[in-house]
């Protein structure tokens, strides 16, 4: 059967939209697919119409540029929002994308294309610690999504913690939106980034802006500090903040009252789909598996491209550049005339070097494992405590996979998305590329039904 489109793009964030638009301009018939009802991905998450926001850009850096791309794309390509992709297959030069349309009824849909651009982004990387499953403890991205997508401020008295430059916009956003931000606790050195020679001028300006917001709201920003325990009966009432040594072992502790903690220790690129297709992966600077790509963002599988966080966490600007390169490669590989644009590749190299420097400036140090107690849940879904992980290891589970088989961390609803990194660390290995043949839960009735294309109604 002839594929319906030249190129399917999965992910309507900066990488996917730029990639789809570039490919479309180069003459390809493009379809863009995203699970969310609105474009933007996590970074440019849009407010629903119902808010009639006159100045939506106040919550985002660079929203205008994205919006212009989006409006142009919408006029040139098919856009399938609210379509969760649960599987992708490739055979005889045709990629088949299997989706579920809708956020509750869920109708199975199938899209076919000659090529595929994967721009599925990343999610927060939480570390387990005592009390991390108390209501009121959120990922930093979760707090951001509440604000950017719903205008809900995550809490009244909020602590922000973890590591990496993402903590700053989260804290600044919360403070600017009226939350009492009790402190930002960066487990690595606070100045690790500013000292770095690769610090790009643009980024420095953005960081200074967040810094000014935090200063205006008198929010303390402490390096070498972390939240090592959360407390409360049925919901969060206070956290234990520790000063850390260089290996993240607590040196001293104190208590901070709060109703909300927003935290994150970097990001996990979402690799289910490239792994389903057999794309080669590599370990990024932080050990995270990412898709291996060439200079044209081609994966190891012909006709499959990856851009944005799935090739290495690097932020929205790099994602957009990668999307553009991938869109051009896809068009060139399908026989369209695409003149070389070396300055785009040089820009990508510069931004990627900066991203790598960031990963190296904000590593996860092994001391966090010492924050755990025997009864601390490592896996939230299957409620697996640390002691069960240790017991499995004692029984001969020498890698993360066998720990999972014996003790069940990662076997539940989230399929290890939340605990996978921690379990790998506890097993003493880098996290493996996730093998999840079912990338989104699918009703058995839908799996059993013959699938249709979106145009078949």
């Amino acid at each position: 059967m002839k594929p319906r489109y030249d190129l399917a793009v999965i992910g309507a964030g900066p990488a996917g939209v730029a990639g789809a638009l570039t490919a479309s301009f180069a003459g390809l018939d493009v379809v863009l697919i995203d699970a969310a009802p609105r474009p933007g991905g996590q970074y440019f998450r849009h407010l629903p119409q119902g808010f009639n926001a006159q100045a939506p850009g106040a919550l985002h850096h660079g929203l205008d540029g994205f919006t212009r791309q989006w409006e142009t794309l919408r006029a040139r390509a098919d856009v399938l929002l609210g379509h969760k992709v649960w599987a992708v297959e490739r055979a005889e030069g045709t990629v088949t994308v299997r989706c579920l349309e809708g956020d509750r009824e869920e109708r199975p849909r199938t899209v076919t294309a000659r090529g595929l651009l994967i721009a599925t982004g990343a999610h927060d990387r939480p570390l387990p610690f005592p009390g991390w499953d108390l209501p009121g403890v959120l990922t930093a991205g979760g707090a951001q999504a509440l604000l950017k997508g719903n205008l809900v401020v995550a809490g009244r008295k909020v602590v922000v913690a973890g590591t990496g430059p993402f903590l700053l916009p989260v804290a600044a956003g919360l403070a600017g939106a009226g939350a009492d931000v009790r402190g930002v606790y960066e487990a690595n050195g606070r100045l690790g980034l500013a000292r770095h020679p690769l610090l790009a001028a643009g980024k420095a300006g953005e960081a200074l802006g967040y810094g000014a917001t935090l200063a205006r709201h008198r929010v303390p920003y402490r390096g070498r500090h972390a939240v090592i325990a959360a407390h409360g009966e049925d919901a969060l009432t206070h956290v234990t903040v520790a000063r850390l040594d260089s290996a993240w072992r607590p040196v001293s502790t104190r208590t901070v009252e709060c109703d909300t903690l927003a935290y994150g220790y970097g990001f996990v690129p979402q690799l289910e789909l490239p792994v389903q297709l057999g794309c080669a992966t590599r370990a990024d600077a932080d050990g995270s598996p990412v898709v291996t790509v060439d200079g044209g963002l081609r994966t190891s599988v012909p006709g499959v491209y990856a851009a944005g966080e799935s090739t290495g966490v690097g932020g929205a600007v790099l994602a957009e550049v990668e999307g553009r390169i991938a869109g051009r490669s896809a068009a060139a590989d399908l026989g369209r005339r695409v003149p070389p644009l070396p300055r785009l590749s040089r820009r990508r190299e510069r931004l990627a070097a900066f991203a790598k420097a960031l990963l190296e400036a904000y590593p996860v140090r092994p001391g966090w494992q010492g924050w755990l107690r025997d009864d601390t849940l490592v896996c939230r879904c299957e409620e697996v405590p640390l002691s069960a992980v240790r017991e499995a290891q004692d029984l001969g589970a020498t890698d993360a996979r066998s720990v999972k088989l014996l003790a069940r961390p990662g076997m539940g609803w989230c399929q290890g998305r939340m605990c996978g990194y921690a379990v790998a660390c506890l097993a003493g290995e880098d996290p493996a590329a996730p093998r999840r043949p079912i990338a989104q839960p699918i009703r058995l009735g839908d799996l059993a039904a013959p699938t249709r294309s979106p145009l078949e109604g």
């Binding site: 589970a397 996979r401 066998s402 009703r443 009735g445 799996l447």
Partner: protein, 379 residues
């Protein structure tokens, strides 16, 4: 020097090691991976007597069934003696099922169409009836393997049973014609005997000893649902087609519905069979067929979600019987592999019989049908 080196820390290797240690032998188990990392870690945990034709495999299954019940007295792994219900789509199939049950001579109850509800309230209407096998059971195979090894070590003394993971066997040591140990990437291990419990990779291990044991992979997928609070499905439930597929020689894809709940909450949905080598690429059409058949059995499943799927490779021999016993072509090398999809169920009996042979006792069952050199005449 240990008396025995067991190659493979899956459930069969674990059972061989446990029973050998119980028989007073010193045992070292080696595995190139972790414990239960191969096919054991990809199974449903079937302990079945219902799907076996009368003959040597059923004898093995019955012996094993009793042994599992003894082993289940140990703490630390789930063993559910819940029984299996085989359902028939038509009166003709029911007749065939009833006939088979009669020949098997195992405990069973023929269930008329109207009685199926009492066994499985959520089963679809319209089945002609079924046969209930109270001896069918389910075990959590990964933990069972790990616990058997640990139990053997604790009970019979550490040093008696040692587990060495991450050790890859690279060849065999010989003492004249006899196999006298293994070479590994972590040094040589001298031993009185070696047990090949390498499952789907048993043929490769045999080849290192210069003998031909045709164990081939037969891929199977399992769909896993979201966890259930209240069990929707009480027994292991499968359609009569499963029995046919298990015994089939086809290379092509075959699927038949096998559905059951687990103590951890999710429902497991099998079973597919295809011979595609060690290819792990997920096949969406297979998952779709499994889902369709499961929903046909239990319509209430239609509204529940699949959250996971995985595949494993059954170690299959051309005549669908395992290879159990000492290899006359390589004395000192005992095989315990090739159990296809029944390795979990057949593990204790295999381990028990191997231990009897190792200790120089007469095995409780005649091992002739399982002898390792039985494929020679066909080559």
């Amino acid at each position: 020097m240990p008396d025995v080196v067991v190659i493979g820390a899956g459930v069969v290797g674990a059972a061989c090691a446990y029973y050998a240690a119980r028989a007073g032998l010193d045992v070292v188990v080696v595995d190139r991976g972790p414990v239960a990392g191969g096919t054991t870690g990809a199974g449903e945990g079937n302990v079945l007597v219902s799907d076996k034709e009368p003959g040597p495999e059923l004898d093995l299954a019955l012996l094993s069934n009793g042994l599992w019940r003894e082993l289940a007295e140990f703490d630390g792994f789930e063993f559910e003696p819940k029984g299996g219900l085989v359902v028939a789509e038509t009166g003709e199939v029911l007749e065939a099922l009833t006939g088979l049950a009669g020949k098997q001579g195992v405990e069973h109850t023929v269930v008329p169409s109207g009685g199926l509800d009492d066994y499985e309230p959520h089963l679809a209407q319209g089945f002609a009836g079924g046969v209930f096998y109270p001896q069918d059971a389910q075990v959590q195979p990964m933990l069972a393997a790990a616990r058997l090894i640990r139990r053997g070590a604790d009970r019979f003394g550490r040093g008696t049973l040692m587990l060495r993971t991450g050790v890859t066997v690279t060849g065999f040591l010989r003492d004249g014609d006899r196999i006298g140990g293994v070479t590994t990437d972590h040094g040589d291990i001298l031993a009185g005997a070696v047990v090949n419990a390498a499952g789907t990779w048993g043929g490769e291990v045999a080849a290192m000893a210069g003998v031909h044991v045709p164990v081939l992979p037969r891929r199977g997928f399992i769909l896993v649902t979201e966890p259930f609070d209240e069990p929707l499905i009480r027994h292991k439930v499968y359609t009569a087609a499963y029995v046919t597929n298990v015994a089939s020689d086809s290379e092509g894809l075959e699927t038949s519905a096998v559905v059951e709940g687990t103590p951890s909450g999710p429902v497991l949905i099998g079973a597919s069979r295809e011979r595609v080598g060690f290819d792990r690429t997920v096949s969406v059409p297979v998952l779709e067929r499994l889902a369709r058949q499961a929903v046909e059995l239990f319509p209430a499943l239609a509204d529940r979600r699949a959250i996971r799927a995985y595949c494993g490779f059954r170690p299959y021999c051309p005549d669908h019987l395992p290879v159990i016993g000492e290899d006359p072509r390589a004395p000192g090398l005992h095989h315990a592999c090739g159990h296809e999809g029944a390795g979990i169920g057949l593990a204790p009996a295999t381990g028990h019989l191997i231990a009897q042979t190792l200790a120089g006792h007469r095995p409780d069952l005649d091992l002739t049908p399982f002898r390792p050199d039985r494929f020679e005449e066909r080559r």
